[in-house]
Subunit: 107 residues, 2 copies
């Protein structure tokens, strides 16, 4: 399977899609109409974005009569956090290596 952060970066790169996700994080559960009202794009566009977000595991949907409620799935952000930690961690490793080297030279 592809690295878990791959799909997250790709999914969150689009501003409209990210705005929808942010809205769900800020305000919780939302129906498609509610989201469409503020998205600045058509309802089908919103539905498509929600489909992509769902595919990435970033949202869940819950059917209630003829309404569909979407909500953010914050746990799905974990690979993103892991990735940044790893990137900054690599630097620390190299720094530690340098420290070790200097220590060894000192002896």
């Amino acid at each position: 399977m592809p690295q878990p952060h791959e799909i997250l970066f790709r999914t969150l790169a689009d501003p409209t899609r990210r705005a929808i996700f942010e809205r769900l994080c800020r305000d919780g559960d939302q129906t498609v109409v509610a989201l469409t009202a503020r998205a600045g794009v058509s309802q089908p566009a919103v539905s498509k974005h929600l489909g992509v977000l769902k595919q990435a595991g970033l949202v869940r949907d819950r059917h209630e009569g003829r309404n569909t409620h979407y909500s953010a799935e914050l746990g799905a952000l974990a690979p993103l956090i892991d990735w940044t930690n790893q990137m900054t961690g690599f630097w620390k490793s190299r720094f530690d290596d340098l420290e070790d080297l200097l220590k060894r030279m000192d002896q």
Copy 2:
């Protein structure tokens, strides 16, 4: 000005570009030829990616004779970390609000 995380998501969405950045994080300073050797794409493509990364503040370049060395600028990742913290933070806020509400109902 555009939100600082906007350009980061857009820049890091491309796998080839992200791989170049990861390589710089892992192994530090690299010339364009060295990066091209492992990138799986042509040298002009690598140069273009480095230009985009530089525009986003994610890398710095250092000229040394006819070689150009690039290095990762980890501080540029801060807005990404802030963004994820904010998203998860929103959830906590809503949870706190709910707690407050329940408390008030309890009285």
